[in-house]
Protein backbone atom coordinates (compact mmCIF):
# COMPACT_ATOMS: atom_id res chain seq x y z
CA UNK A 1 0.00 0.00 0.00
CA UNK A 2 1.32 3.40 -0.91
CA UNK A 3 2.08 6.09 1.63
CA UNK A 4 -0.72 8.35 0.50
CA UNK A 5 -3.20 5.49 0.88
CA UNK A 6 -2.10 4.93 4.48
CA UNK A 7 -2.21 8.67 5.11
CA UNK A 8 -5.77 8.83 3.78
CA UNK A 9 -6.76 5.76 5.82
CA UNK A 10 -5.41 7.25 9.04
CA UNK A 11 -7.65 10.27 8.48
CA UNK A 12 -10.73 8.01 8.56
CA UNK A 13 -10.09 6.88 12.17
CA UNK A 14 -12.15 9.68 13.81
CA UNK A 15 -15.27 9.03 11.72
CA UNK A 16 -15.05 5.27 12.30
CA UNK A 17 -14.54 5.89 16.03
CA UNK A 18 -17.51 8.23 16.17
CA UNK A 19 -19.78 5.86 14.22
CA UNK A 20 -18.73 2.89 16.36
CA UNK A 21 -19.26 4.89 19.54
CA UNK A 22 -22.77 5.93 18.46
CA UNK A 23 -23.74 2.35 17.64
CA UNK A 24 -22.15 1.01 20.84
CA UNK A 25 -23.94 3.55 23.05
CA UNK A 26 -27.22 2.87 21.29
CA UNK A 27 -26.76 -0.88 21.69
CA UNK A 28 -25.95 -0.51 25.40
CA UNK A 29 -28.77 1.86 26.26
CA UNK A 30 -31.58 0.69 24.00
CA UNK A 31 -32.85 -2.91 24.14
CA UNK A 32 -34.95 -2.53 20.94
CA UNK A 33 -31.86 -1.26 19.08
CA UNK A 34 -29.89 -4.42 19.74
CA UNK A 35 -32.56 -6.84 18.56
CA UNK A 36 -31.70 -8.96 15.53
CA UNK A 37 -34.70 -7.59 13.62
CA UNK A 38 -33.36 -4.10 14.06
CA UNK A 39 -29.88 -5.17 12.96
CA UNK A 40 -31.37 -6.48 9.72
CA UNK A 41 -33.42 -3.31 9.29
CA UNK A 42 -30.38 -1.13 9.93
CA UNK A 43 -28.19 -3.00 7.45
CA UNK A 44 -30.80 -2.98 4.69
CA UNK A 45 -31.27 0.73 5.35
CA UNK A 46 -27.53 1.31 4.99
CA UNK A 47 -27.00 -0.76 1.83
CA UNK A 48 -28.39 1.66 -0.80
CA UNK A 49 -26.74 4.63 0.90
CA UNK A 50 -23.32 2.96 0.96
CA UNK A 51 -23.54 2.18 -2.76
CA UNK A 52 -24.74 5.60 -3.88
CA UNK A 53 -22.31 7.40 -1.54
CA UNK A 54 -19.43 5.41 -3.02
CA UNK A 55 -20.30 6.76 -6.47
CA UNK A 56 -20.80 10.25 -5.10
CA UNK A 57 -17.37 10.04 -3.44
CA UNK A 58 -15.73 9.28 -6.78
CA UNK A 59 -17.24 12.50 -8.17
CA UNK A 60 -16.41 14.61 -5.13
CA UNK A 61 -12.82 13.31 -5.09
CA UNK A 62 -12.42 14.99 -8.48
CA UNK A 63 -13.99 18.19 -7.09
CA UNK A 64 -17.34 17.61 -8.77
CA UNK A 65 -20.78 16.88 -7.41
CA UNK A 66 -23.62 14.66 -8.62
CA UNK A 67 -27.13 15.83 -7.77
CA UNK A 68 -28.75 13.40 -10.22
CA UNK A 69 -28.14 10.22 -8.18
CA UNK A 70 -31.45 10.45 -6.29
CA UNK A 71 -33.47 10.57 -9.50
CA UNK A 72 -31.40 7.78 -11.05
CA UNK A 73 -32.23 5.59 -8.02
CA UNK A 74 -35.91 6.45 -8.36
CA UNK A 75 -35.84 5.62 -12.06
CA UNK A 76 -34.15 2.29 -11.30
CA UNK A 77 -36.95 1.32 -8.91
CA UNK A 78 -39.55 2.52 -11.43
CA UNK A 79 -37.99 0.43 -14.21
CA UNK A 80 -37.67 -2.60 -11.93
CA UNK A 81 -41.35 -2.31 -11.03
CA UNK A 82 -42.33 -2.16 -14.72
CA UNK A 83 -40.22 -5.11 -15.83
CA UNK A 84 -42.96 -6.49 -18.07
CA UNK A 85 -42.66 -3.41 -20.31
CA UNK A 86 -38.95 -2.86 -19.87
CA UNK A 87 -37.07 -6.06 -20.58
CA UNK A 88 -39.68 -8.73 -19.89
CA UNK A 89 -37.41 -10.92 -17.78
CA UNK A 90 -35.36 -10.29 -14.66
CA UNK A 91 -31.89 -10.41 -16.28
CA UNK A 92 -32.78 -8.21 -19.27
CA UNK A 93 -34.58 -5.78 -16.98
CA UNK A 94 -31.61 -5.59 -14.61
CA UNK A 95 -29.13 -5.04 -17.42
CA UNK A 96 -31.38 -2.33 -18.85
CA UNK A 97 -31.47 -0.57 -15.46
CA UNK A 98 -27.68 -0.62 -15.20
CA UNK A 99 -27.26 0.63 -18.78
CA UNK A 100 -29.72 3.47 -18.18
CA UNK A 101 -27.82 4.50 -15.02
CA UNK A 102 -24.46 4.45 -16.80
CA UNK A 103 -25.92 6.41 -19.74
CA UNK A 104 -27.25 9.17 -17.50
CA UNK A 105 -23.83 9.28 -15.86
CA UNK A 106 -22.19 9.57 -19.28
CA UNK A 107 -24.53 12.47 -20.19
CA UNK A 108 -23.52 14.24 -16.98
CA UNK A 109 -19.87 13.64 -17.78
CA UNK A 110 -20.20 14.96 -21.33
CA UNK A 111 -21.97 18.10 -20.10
CA UNK A 112 -19.28 18.76 -17.51
CA UNK A 113 -16.55 18.17 -20.10
CA UNK A 114 -18.32 20.69 -22.36
CA UNK A 115 -17.86 23.20 -19.56
CA UNK A 116 -21.19 23.18 -17.70
CA UNK A 117 -20.75 23.46 -13.93
CA UNK A 118 -21.29 19.96 -12.42
CA UNK A 119 -23.87 21.33 -10.01
CA UNK A 120 -26.00 22.73 -12.83
CA UNK A 121 -25.43 19.84 -15.22
CA UNK A 122 -26.50 17.27 -12.64
CA UNK A 123 -29.33 19.51 -11.44
CA UNK A 124 -30.68 19.43 -15.00
CA UNK A 125 -30.46 15.65 -15.19
CA UNK A 126 -31.89 15.39 -11.67
CA UNK A 127 -35.01 17.25 -12.84
CA UNK A 128 -35.22 15.55 -16.25
CA UNK A 129 -34.69 11.99 -14.91
CA UNK A 130 -37.30 12.62 -12.22
CA UNK A 131 -39.68 13.34 -15.09
CA UNK A 132 -38.70 10.11 -16.84
CA UNK A 133 -39.22 8.13 -13.60
CA UNK A 134 -42.69 9.66 -13.19
CA UNK A 135 -43.41 8.78 -16.81
CA UNK A 136 -42.33 5.15 -16.36
CA UNK A 137 -44.23 4.74 -13.08
CA UNK A 138 -46.61 7.60 -12.24
CA UNK A 139 -47.30 6.43 -8.69
CA UNK A 140 -45.64 4.04 -6.21
CA UNK A 141 -46.36 0.38 -6.83
CA UNK A 142 -45.89 -1.78 -9.89
CA UNK A 143 -44.62 -5.33 -10.00
CA UNK A 144 -40.98 -6.30 -9.62
CA UNK A 145 -39.86 -9.48 -11.39
CA UNK A 146 -39.70 -12.47 -9.07
CA UNK A 147 -36.06 -13.21 -9.86
CA UNK A 148 -34.84 -9.71 -9.05
CA UNK A 149 -36.95 -9.44 -5.91
CA UNK A 150 -35.62 -12.76 -4.67
CA UNK A 151 -32.04 -11.63 -5.16
CA UNK A 152 -32.37 -8.16 -3.59
CA UNK A 153 -34.14 -9.49 -0.50
CA UNK A 154 -31.82 -12.47 0.05
CA UNK A 155 -30.38 -12.82 3.58
CA UNK A 156 -27.50 -14.75 5.13
CA UNK A 157 -28.67 -15.18 8.72
CA UNK A 158 -29.60 -11.66 9.80
CA UNK A 159 -27.37 -9.99 7.21
CA UNK A 160 -29.00 -8.90 3.94
CA UNK A 161 -26.94 -10.07 0.96
CA UNK A 162 -27.20 -6.63 -0.59
CA UNK A 163 -25.44 -5.15 2.44
CA UNK A 164 -22.51 -7.46 1.75
CA UNK A 165 -22.67 -6.45 -1.91
CA UNK A 166 -22.66 -2.78 -0.86
CA UNK A 167 -19.60 -3.17 1.37
CA UNK A 168 -17.85 -5.17 -1.36
CA UNK A 169 -18.55 -2.41 -3.89
CA UNK A 170 -17.23 0.24 -1.52
CA UNK A 171 -14.05 -1.76 -0.86
CA UNK A 172 -13.42 -2.48 -4.55
CA UNK A 173 -13.96 1.17 -5.53
CA UNK A 174 -11.81 2.26 -2.59
CA UNK A 175 -8.99 0.00 -3.75
CA UNK A 176 -9.31 1.28 -7.32
CA UNK A 177 -9.24 4.91 -6.23
CA UNK A 178 -6.42 4.41 -3.74
CA UNK A 179 -4.08 2.12 -5.63
CA UNK A 180 -4.75 2.10 -9.37
CA UNK A 181 -3.44 4.52 -11.98
CA UNK A 182 -7.01 5.63 -12.64
CA UNK A 183 -7.39 6.45 -8.95
CA UNK A 184 -4.22 8.50 -8.90
CA UNK A 185 -5.48 10.45 -11.91
CA UNK A 186 -8.81 10.96 -10.17
CA UNK A 187 -7.08 12.50 -7.14
CA UNK A 188 -4.85 14.53 -9.45
CA UNK A 189 -7.83 16.03 -11.30
CA UNK A 190 -9.47 16.77 -7.97
CA UNK A 191 -6.54 18.46 -6.30
CA UNK A 192 -5.44 20.57 -9.23
CA UNK A 193 -7.04 20.28 -12.64
CA UNK A 194 -4.42 22.45 -14.39
CA UNK A 195 -1.48 20.51 -12.99
CA UNK A 196 -3.20 17.25 -13.91
CA UNK A 197 -3.49 18.51 -17.49
CA UNK A 198 0.16 19.52 -17.58
CA UNK A 199 1.34 16.16 -16.32
CA UNK A 200 -0.45 14.48 -19.19
CA UNK A 201 -3.56 13.18 -17.45
CA UNK A 202 -6.49 12.91 -19.86
CA UNK A 203 -8.83 14.93 -17.68
CA UNK A 204 -11.84 14.46 -19.95
CA UNK A 205 -11.56 10.67 -19.81
CA UNK A 206 -11.21 10.70 -16.03
CA UNK A 207 -14.29 12.94 -15.66
CA UNK A 208 -16.35 10.82 -18.07
CA UNK A 209 -15.44 7.53 -16.37
CA UNK A 210 -16.11 9.07 -12.94
CA UNK A 211 -19.62 10.14 -13.86
CA UNK A 212 -20.36 6.79 -15.52
CA UNK A 213 -19.29 5.03 -12.30
CA UNK A 214 -21.53 7.33 -10.25
CA UNK A 215 -24.55 6.81 -12.54
CA UNK A 216 -24.00 3.06 -12.60
CA UNK A 217 -23.67 2.81 -8.82
CA UNK A 218 -26.78 4.97 -8.37
CA UNK A 219 -28.77 2.47 -10.43
CA UNK A 220 -27.33 -0.41 -8.36
CA UNK A 221 -28.36 1.53 -5.24
CA UNK A 222 -31.82 1.78 -6.79
CA UNK A 223 -31.91 -2.04 -6.99
CA UNK A 224 -30.94 -2.18 -3.31
CA UNK A 225 -33.82 0.19 -2.60
CA UNK A 226 -36.19 -2.20 -4.41
CA UNK A 227 -35.16 -4.78 -1.80
CA UNK A 228 -36.59 -2.50 0.90
CA UNK A 229 -39.67 -1.25 -0.95
CA UNK A 230 -40.63 -4.57 -2.64
CA UNK A 231 -41.95 -2.31 -5.42
CA UNK A 232 -41.13 0.85 -7.35
CA UNK A 233 -41.53 4.47 -6.33
CA UNK A 234 -40.80 7.36 -8.73
CA UNK A 235 -39.66 9.61 -5.88
CA UNK A 236 -38.14 7.12 -3.42
CA UNK A 237 -34.57 8.00 -4.34
CA UNK A 238 -34.96 11.73 -3.70
CA UNK A 239 -33.47 11.92 -0.18
CA UNK A 240 -30.40 10.01 -1.32
CA UNK A 241 -28.96 12.91 -3.32
CA UNK A 242 -28.30 15.01 -0.26
CA UNK A 243 -27.80 12.06 2.10
CA UNK A 244 -25.05 10.70 -0.16
CA UNK A 245 -23.27 14.07 -0.19
CA UNK A 246 -23.60 14.25 3.60
CA UNK A 247 -22.18 10.72 3.99
CA UNK A 248 -19.24 11.54 1.73
CA UNK A 249 -18.38 14.76 3.57
CA UNK A 250 -18.81 13.22 7.03
CA UNK A 251 -16.54 10.44 5.75
CA UNK A 252 -13.82 13.03 5.42
CA UNK A 253 -13.75 13.65 1.67
CA UNK A 254 -13.23 17.36 1.04
CA UNK A 255 -15.74 19.00 -1.29
CA UNK A 256 -12.78 20.81 -2.83
CA UNK A 257 -11.58 17.46 -4.17
CA UNK A 258 -8.43 15.39 -4.05
CA UNK A 259 -8.58 14.54 -0.35
CA UNK A 260 -10.11 11.68 1.59
CA UNK A 261 -10.80 7.97 1.33
CA UNK A 262 -13.81 5.86 0.41
CA UNK A 263 -13.18 3.77 3.55
CA UNK A 264 -14.18 6.89 5.48
CA UNK A 265 -17.26 7.26 3.27
CA UNK A 266 -18.31 3.74 4.29
CA UNK A 267 -18.35 4.93 7.92
CA UNK A 268 -20.08 8.16 6.91
CA UNK A 269 -22.84 6.19 5.16
CA UNK A 270 -23.29 3.90 8.19
CA UNK A 271 -23.52 6.98 10.41
CA UNK A 272 -26.05 8.83 8.23
CA UNK A 273 -27.99 5.58 7.76
CA UNK A 274 -28.22 4.84 11.48
CA UNK A 275 -28.81 8.30 13.02
CA UNK A 276 -32.53 8.17 12.23
CA UNK A 277 -32.84 4.62 13.54
CA UNK A 278 -30.94 5.44 16.75
CA UNK A 279 -33.04 8.55 17.42
CA UNK A 280 -36.18 6.50 16.80
CA UNK A 281 -35.09 3.93 19.35
CA UNK A 282 -34.68 6.69 21.94
CA UNK A 283 -38.18 7.94 21.19
CA UNK A 284 -37.07 11.23 19.66
CA UNK A 285 -39.99 12.57 17.62
CA UNK A 286 -39.43 13.13 13.93
CA UNK A 287 -39.45 16.92 14.27
CA UNK A 288 -36.54 16.81 16.70
CA UNK A 289 -34.79 14.24 14.52
CA UNK A 290 -34.58 16.87 11.78
CA UNK A 291 -33.09 19.35 14.23
CA UNK A 292 -30.63 16.82 15.64
CA UNK A 293 -29.49 15.67 12.18
CA UNK A 294 -28.93 19.24 11.01
CA UNK A 295 -27.00 20.17 14.14
CA UNK A 296 -24.83 17.05 13.99
CA UNK A 297 -23.96 17.92 10.40
CA UNK A 298 -23.05 21.52 11.26
CA UNK A 299 -20.92 20.50 14.24
CA UNK A 300 -19.12 17.79 12.25
CA UNK A 301 -18.40 20.14 9.34
CA UNK A 302 -17.13 22.80 11.71
CA UNK A 303 -14.93 20.26 13.45
CA UNK A 304 -13.41 19.22 10.12
CA UNK A 305 -12.90 22.86 9.20
CA UNK A 306 -11.08 23.99 12.30
CA UNK A 307 -8.96 20.87 12.14
CA UNK A 308 -10.22 19.07 15.25
CA UNK A 309 -9.51 15.84 13.39
CA UNK A 310 -6.07 17.20 12.46
CA UNK A 311 -6.82 17.29 8.80
CA UNK A 312 -5.09 19.71 6.52
CA UNK A 313 -6.40 23.17 7.43
CA UNK A 314 -6.40 24.28 3.82
CA UNK A 315 -9.26 21.84 3.28
CA UNK A 316 -11.49 24.54 4.68
CA UNK A 317 -13.23 26.35 1.91
CA UNK A 318 -16.22 28.61 1.97
CA UNK A 319 -16.92 28.23 -1.68
CA UNK A 320 -17.73 25.65 -4.23
CA UNK A 321 -14.71 24.90 -6.28
CA UNK A 322 -15.83 22.43 -8.83
CA UNK A 323 -13.33 23.06 -11.54
CA UNK A 324 -15.73 23.50 -14.46
CA UNK A 325 -16.62 26.81 -16.04
CA UNK A 326 -19.97 27.12 -14.38
Amino acid sequence: MSGSTLHNLRATVPIWAFTALLILVAALLSPPFRTLTNVTALLSLAAPLIIVATGQAVIILMAGIDLSVGSVMSLATALAASYATFGGSAPVNTILILVVGATIGALNGLGVIAGVHPLIMTLSTYIAVRGVALFVLPSPGGEVSGGLLQFVTLQVGVVPVFFIVAVAIAVVVWYATAESTWGRRLYAVGSNATNADKSGVNRKAVILVGFIVSGLLASVAGLALVGRLYSGDPLAGDPYTLNSITAVVLGGVALTGGRGSIIGVLAGALLVGSIGNVLNMFGVSSAYQFIATGLILIVALYAYNVGVFRRDRSAASAHLNTGGGR
Binding site: I120, G131, L134, I245, I291, S317, L320
Partner: protein, 317 residues
Amino acid sequence: MTSISKALRNAARRRDLIVSYSLALILLVVSGLITSSGLQPNRILTIFGQNAPLGVAAIGQTFVLLSGGLDLSVGPVINLSNVVASEVMDGQNGRIPLAVAASLLAAALVGLINGVLVAKAKINPLLTTLAVATVVQGVYFAYTGGQPTGSIAPAFRVVSNGRIGVIPWSFIAWLLLWAITAFLLYRTVFGRRFYAAGANERAAWISGISSSWYIVSAYVASAVCAGLAGLLLSSYIGRASIGVGDPYTLISIAAVVIGGTAFTGGVGGLAGTFAGVVVMVFIATILSTLNIPAAAQFVAQGVVIASMMLLYNRLGR
Protein backbone atom coordinates in the same frame (compact mmCIF):
# COMPACT_ATOMS: atom_id res chain seq x y z
CA MET B 1 -6.24 46.77 -18.94
CA THR B 2 -9.08 46.82 -16.48
CA SER B 3 -11.26 48.95 -18.71
CA ILE B 4 -10.76 46.53 -21.61
CA SER B 5 -11.58 43.46 -19.54
CA LYS B 6 -14.53 45.28 -18.06
CA ALA B 7 -15.81 46.21 -21.50
CA LEU B 8 -15.42 42.61 -22.61
CA ARG B 9 -17.25 41.39 -19.58
CA ASN B 10 -20.06 43.83 -20.18
CA ALA B 11 -20.36 42.66 -23.77
CA ALA B 12 -20.51 39.05 -22.67
CA ARG B 13 -23.10 39.95 -20.09
CA ARG B 14 -25.24 41.63 -22.73
CA ARG B 15 -25.08 38.55 -24.95
CA ASP B 16 -26.28 36.52 -22.01
CA LEU B 17 -29.16 38.89 -21.53
CA ILE B 18 -30.05 38.86 -25.22
CA VAL B 19 -30.31 35.08 -25.16
CA SER B 20 -32.32 34.82 -21.95
CA TYR B 21 -34.72 37.66 -22.80
CA SER B 22 -35.24 36.34 -26.36
CA LEU B 23 -36.11 32.92 -24.98
CA ALA B 24 -38.44 34.50 -22.42
CA LEU B 25 -40.18 36.50 -25.13
CA ILE B 26 -40.51 33.50 -27.45
CA LEU B 27 -42.01 31.36 -24.70
CA LEU B 28 -44.38 34.15 -23.73
CA VAL B 29 -45.61 34.53 -27.31
CA VAL B 30 -45.92 30.76 -27.80
CA SER B 31 -47.92 30.47 -24.59
CA GLY B 32 -50.24 33.13 -26.03
CA LEU B 33 -50.61 31.51 -29.43
CA ILE B 34 -51.71 28.12 -28.16
CA THR B 35 -54.90 29.27 -26.42
CA SER B 36 -57.78 31.48 -27.49
CA SER B 37 -57.51 33.83 -24.51
CA GLY B 38 -53.86 33.90 -25.59
CA LEU B 39 -52.07 37.18 -25.40
CA GLN B 40 -54.72 39.12 -23.48
CA PRO B 41 -52.79 41.35 -21.05
CA ASN B 42 -55.11 40.27 -18.27
CA ARG B 43 -54.12 36.62 -18.60
CA ILE B 44 -50.41 37.39 -18.84
CA LEU B 45 -50.55 39.71 -15.82
CA THR B 46 -52.39 37.09 -13.79
CA ILE B 47 -49.64 34.59 -14.56
CA PHE B 48 -46.99 37.12 -13.51
CA GLY B 49 -48.90 37.77 -10.29
CA GLN B 50 -49.25 34.09 -9.47
CA ASN B 51 -45.53 33.57 -9.97
CA ALA B 52 -44.41 36.54 -7.92
CA PRO B 53 -43.26 34.20 -5.11
CA LEU B 54 -40.76 32.59 -7.51
CA GLY B 55 -39.68 35.99 -8.81
CA VAL B 56 -39.04 37.26 -5.30
CA ALA B 57 -37.25 34.08 -4.13
CA ALA B 58 -35.03 34.19 -7.24
CA ILE B 59 -33.95 37.75 -6.41
CA GLY B 60 -32.54 36.50 -3.11
CA GLN B 61 -30.97 33.43 -4.70
CA THR B 62 -29.20 35.77 -7.18
CA PHE B 63 -27.42 37.56 -4.35
CA VAL B 64 -26.19 34.26 -2.93
CA LEU B 65 -24.94 33.00 -6.32
CA LEU B 66 -23.19 36.31 -6.93
CA SER B 67 -21.45 35.86 -3.58
CA GLY B 68 -20.08 32.55 -4.86
CA GLY B 69 -22.46 30.34 -2.90
CA LEU B 70 -25.79 28.58 -3.15
CA ASP B 71 -28.90 28.63 -0.94
CA LEU B 72 -30.68 25.31 -0.47
CA SER B 73 -32.77 26.65 2.40
CA VAL B 74 -35.06 28.80 0.22
CA GLY B 75 -37.91 26.26 0.16
CA PRO B 76 -37.91 25.51 3.90
CA VAL B 77 -37.71 29.25 4.72
CA ILE B 78 -40.76 29.84 2.50
CA ASN B 79 -42.54 27.10 4.48
CA LEU B 80 -41.42 28.68 7.77
CA SER B 81 -42.72 32.10 6.72
CA ASN B 82 -46.02 30.58 5.59
CA VAL B 83 -46.49 28.69 8.86
CA VAL B 84 -45.53 31.65 11.08
CA ALA B 85 -47.72 34.08 9.10
CA SER B 86 -50.73 31.80 9.34
CA GLU B 87 -50.29 30.97 13.04
CA VAL B 88 -49.66 34.56 14.12
CA MET B 89 -52.28 36.17 11.88
CA ASP B 90 -54.93 33.63 12.86
CA GLY B 91 -57.39 35.15 10.41
CA GLN B 92 -57.49 38.57 12.10
CA ASN B 93 -56.82 41.72 10.08
CA GLY B 94 -55.45 43.52 13.12
CA ARG B 95 -52.63 41.01 13.47
CA ILE B 96 -51.28 41.42 9.94
CA PRO B 97 -48.38 43.77 10.82
CA LEU B 98 -47.28 41.52 13.68
CA ALA B 99 -47.46 38.40 11.51
CA VAL B 100 -45.52 40.00 8.64
CA ALA B 101 -42.84 41.21 11.06
CA ALA B 102 -42.61 37.80 12.76
CA SER B 103 -42.29 35.93 9.44
CA LEU B 104 -39.61 38.23 8.09
CA LEU B 105 -37.68 38.23 11.37
CA ALA B 106 -37.72 34.44 11.54
CA ALA B 107 -36.52 34.30 7.93
CA ALA B 108 -33.79 36.89 8.51
CA LEU B 109 -32.54 34.94 11.50
CA VAL B 110 -32.16 31.81 9.35
CA GLY B 111 -30.28 33.86 6.75
CA LEU B 112 -27.97 35.29 9.40
CA ILE B 113 -27.13 31.79 10.65
CA ASN B 114 -26.45 30.62 7.08
CA GLY B 115 -24.29 33.64 6.37
CA VAL B 116 -22.22 33.41 9.54
CA LEU B 117 -21.61 29.68 9.05
CA VAL B 118 -20.53 30.22 5.44
CA ALA B 119 -18.54 33.45 5.74
CA LYS B 120 -17.16 33.20 9.26
CA ALA B 121 -17.00 29.47 10.04
CA LYS B 122 -16.02 28.81 6.40
CA ILE B 123 -18.33 25.83 5.95
CA ASN B 124 -19.24 25.00 2.37
CA PRO B 125 -22.44 26.85 1.33
CA LEU B 126 -24.13 23.77 -0.11
CA LEU B 127 -23.78 21.84 3.14
CA THR B 128 -24.40 24.81 5.42
CA THR B 129 -27.70 25.70 3.80
CA LEU B 130 -28.64 22.02 3.57
CA ALA B 131 -27.99 21.47 7.30
CA VAL B 132 -29.72 24.71 8.29
CA ALA B 133 -32.67 23.82 6.04
CA THR B 134 -32.96 20.47 7.86
CA VAL B 135 -33.00 22.26 11.22
CA VAL B 136 -35.60 24.76 9.95
CA GLN B 137 -37.81 21.86 8.82
CA GLY B 138 -37.51 20.36 12.29
CA VAL B 139 -38.38 23.70 13.88
CA TYR B 140 -41.62 24.17 12.02
CA PHE B 141 -42.61 20.53 12.47
CA ALA B 142 -41.99 20.91 16.21
CA TYR B 143 -43.76 24.29 16.32
CA THR B 144 -46.90 22.99 14.60
CA GLY B 145 -46.80 19.33 15.57
CA GLY B 146 -47.15 18.64 11.86
CA GLN B 147 -50.67 20.13 11.93
CA PRO B 148 -50.38 23.86 11.33
CA THR B 149 -53.36 25.95 12.42
CA GLY B 150 -54.48 29.53 11.88
CA SER B 151 -55.25 31.22 8.61
CA ILE B 152 -54.41 34.27 6.57
CA ALA B 153 -56.46 37.42 7.37
CA PRO B 154 -58.97 38.48 4.68
CA ALA B 155 -57.36 41.90 4.28
CA PHE B 156 -54.00 40.28 3.51
CA ARG B 157 -55.50 38.25 0.67
CA VAL B 158 -55.82 41.48 -1.28
CA VAL B 159 -52.18 40.94 -2.22
CA SER B 160 -53.24 37.95 -4.33
CA ASN B 161 -56.69 38.93 -5.59
CA GLY B 162 -56.49 42.73 -5.62
CA ARG B 163 -55.22 44.83 -8.47
CA ILE B 164 -54.04 48.37 -8.94
CA GLY B 165 -55.54 49.18 -12.31
CA VAL B 166 -54.93 45.95 -14.19
CA ILE B 167 -51.77 44.93 -12.38
CA PRO B 168 -52.01 42.40 -9.52
CA TRP B 169 -50.63 43.57 -6.17
CA SER B 170 -48.26 40.62 -5.98
CA PHE B 171 -46.73 41.48 -9.35
CA ILE B 172 -46.24 45.08 -8.18
CA ALA B 173 -44.54 43.79 -5.03
CA TRP B 174 -42.21 41.67 -7.15
CA LEU B 175 -41.37 44.55 -9.53
CA LEU B 176 -40.84 46.98 -6.67
CA LEU B 177 -38.49 44.63 -4.83
CA TRP B 178 -36.65 43.93 -8.08
CA ALA B 179 -36.23 47.67 -8.76
CA ILE B 180 -34.92 48.39 -5.26
CA THR B 181 -32.49 45.47 -5.19
CA ALA B 182 -31.31 46.12 -8.76
CA PHE B 183 -30.62 49.74 -7.83
CA LEU B 184 -28.65 48.57 -4.78
CA LEU B 185 -26.67 46.11 -6.85
CA TYR B 186 -25.95 48.16 -9.97
CA ARG B 187 -25.88 51.75 -8.78
CA THR B 188 -24.46 51.89 -5.27
CA VAL B 189 -21.09 51.45 -3.59
CA PHE B 190 -22.61 48.52 -1.73
CA GLY B 191 -23.29 46.82 -5.07
CA ARG B 192 -19.76 47.40 -6.37
CA ARG B 193 -18.23 45.99 -3.23
CA PHE B 194 -20.69 43.13 -3.26
CA TYR B 195 -19.55 42.11 -6.76
CA ALA B 196 -15.93 42.45 -5.72
CA ALA B 197 -16.41 40.26 -2.66
CA GLY B 198 -18.24 37.62 -4.72
CA ALA B 199 -15.71 37.53 -7.53
CA ASN B 200 -12.69 37.20 -5.29
CA GLU B 201 -13.20 37.25 -1.57
CA ARG B 202 -9.55 37.54 -0.71
CA ALA B 203 -8.68 40.20 -3.27
CA ALA B 204 -11.63 42.27 -2.09
CA TRP B 205 -10.49 41.83 1.50
CA ILE B 206 -6.99 42.98 0.63
CA SER B 207 -8.43 46.11 -0.98
CA GLY B 208 -10.15 46.96 2.25
CA ILE B 209 -13.62 45.49 1.81
CA SER B 210 -14.81 43.38 4.71
CA SER B 211 -15.77 40.59 2.29
CA SER B 212 -17.28 38.25 4.82
CA TRP B 213 -19.97 40.73 5.86
CA TYR B 214 -20.98 41.19 2.24
CA ILE B 215 -21.32 37.44 1.99
CA VAL B 216 -23.38 37.33 5.19
CA SER B 217 -25.62 40.04 3.72
CA ALA B 218 -26.26 37.85 0.66
CA TYR B 219 -27.66 35.03 2.80
CA VAL B 220 -29.75 37.44 4.89
CA ALA B 221 -31.10 38.99 1.65
CA SER B 222 -31.91 35.54 0.28
CA ALA B 223 -33.73 34.47 3.45
CA VAL B 224 -35.69 37.73 3.68
CA CYS B 225 -36.68 37.35 0.01
CA ALA B 226 -37.75 33.76 0.73
CA GLY B 227 -39.73 35.09 3.71
CA LEU B 228 -41.45 37.62 1.43
CA ALA B 229 -42.10 34.88 -1.11
CA GLY B 230 -43.68 32.87 1.71
CA LEU B 231 -45.95 35.80 2.55
CA LEU B 232 -47.01 36.22 -1.09
CA LEU B 233 -47.68 32.50 -1.34
CA SER B 234 -49.65 32.61 1.93
CA SER B 235 -51.84 35.34 0.48
CA TYR B 236 -52.63 33.04 -2.44
CA ILE B 237 -53.38 29.87 -0.49
CA GLY B 238 -54.90 31.54 2.57
CA ARG B 239 -53.62 29.04 5.11
CA ALA B 240 -50.55 27.18 6.34
CA SER B 241 -49.49 24.24 4.23
CA ILE B 242 -46.22 22.54 5.13
CA GLY B 243 -44.17 21.77 2.04
CA VAL B 244 -45.76 24.41 -0.18
CA GLY B 245 -42.36 26.10 -0.61
CA ASP B 246 -40.32 22.97 -1.33
CA PRO B 247 -40.18 23.22 -5.15
CA TYR B 248 -38.87 26.79 -4.95
CA THR B 249 -35.35 25.81 -3.86
CA LEU B 250 -34.28 24.21 -7.12
CA ILE B 251 -36.49 26.24 -9.45
CA SER B 252 -35.09 29.49 -8.04
CA ILE B 253 -31.55 28.26 -8.69
CA ALA B 254 -32.54 27.21 -12.21
CA ALA B 255 -34.11 30.61 -12.92
CA VAL B 256 -31.02 32.46 -11.71
CA VAL B 257 -28.56 30.45 -13.81
CA ILE B 258 -30.79 30.67 -16.90
CA GLY B 259 -30.59 34.42 -16.32
CA GLY B 260 -26.85 34.16 -16.83
CA THR B 261 -25.52 34.30 -13.27
CA ALA B 262 -22.53 32.00 -12.89
CA PHE B 263 -21.80 29.65 -10.00
CA THR B 264 -18.31 31.03 -9.71
CA GLY B 265 -19.49 34.26 -8.08
CA GLY B 266 -19.32 37.88 -9.17
CA VAL B 267 -20.68 37.25 -12.69
CA GLY B 268 -24.24 37.99 -13.76
CA GLY B 269 -26.95 39.90 -11.97
CA LEU B 270 -30.57 40.67 -11.33
CA ALA B 271 -31.24 41.86 -14.89
CA GLY B 272 -31.00 38.29 -16.17
CA THR B 273 -32.82 36.75 -13.23
CA PHE B 274 -36.07 38.40 -14.29
CA ALA B 275 -35.79 36.70 -17.70
CA GLY B 276 -34.84 33.41 -16.04
CA VAL B 277 -38.01 33.46 -13.95
CA VAL B 278 -40.14 34.26 -17.01
CA VAL B 279 -38.55 31.34 -18.88
CA MET B 280 -39.26 28.86 -16.06
CA VAL B 281 -42.81 30.16 -15.60
CA PHE B 282 -43.81 30.06 -19.25
CA ILE B 283 -42.32 26.62 -19.92
CA ALA B 284 -44.64 25.38 -17.17
CA THR B 285 -47.57 27.43 -18.52
CA ILE B 286 -47.16 26.17 -22.08
CA LEU B 287 -46.86 22.54 -21.06
CA SER B 288 -49.83 22.63 -18.72
CA THR B 289 -51.94 24.45 -21.33
CA LEU B 290 -51.13 21.64 -23.76
CA ASN B 291 -52.16 19.14 -21.06
CA ILE B 292 -48.74 17.59 -21.11
CA PRO B 293 -48.24 15.45 -17.98
CA ALA B 294 -46.06 16.72 -15.15
CA ALA B 295 -43.52 14.03 -16.00
CA ALA B 296 -42.76 15.61 -19.37
CA GLN B 297 -42.62 19.05 -17.78
CA PHE B 298 -39.70 17.92 -15.59
CA VAL B 299 -37.91 16.53 -18.64
CA ALA B 300 -38.45 19.81 -20.53
CA GLN B 301 -37.18 21.89 -17.60
CA GLY B 302 -34.05 19.76 -17.27
CA VAL B 303 -33.33 19.88 -20.98
CA VAL B 304 -33.81 23.66 -21.15
CA ILE B 305 -31.48 24.31 -18.20
CA ALA B 306 -28.74 22.06 -19.60
CA SER B 307 -29.01 23.44 -23.14
CA MET B 308 -28.98 27.05 -21.95
CA MET B 309 -25.81 26.38 -19.99
CA LEU B 310 -24.16 24.72 -22.99
CA LEU B 311 -25.18 27.69 -25.11
CA TYR B 312 -23.75 30.18 -22.61
CA ASN B 313 -20.47 28.29 -22.67
CA ARG B 314 -20.43 28.46 -26.45
CA LEU B 315 -20.97 32.21 -26.15
CA GLY B 316 -17.65 32.29 -24.38
CA ARG B 317 -18.59 32.66 -20.77
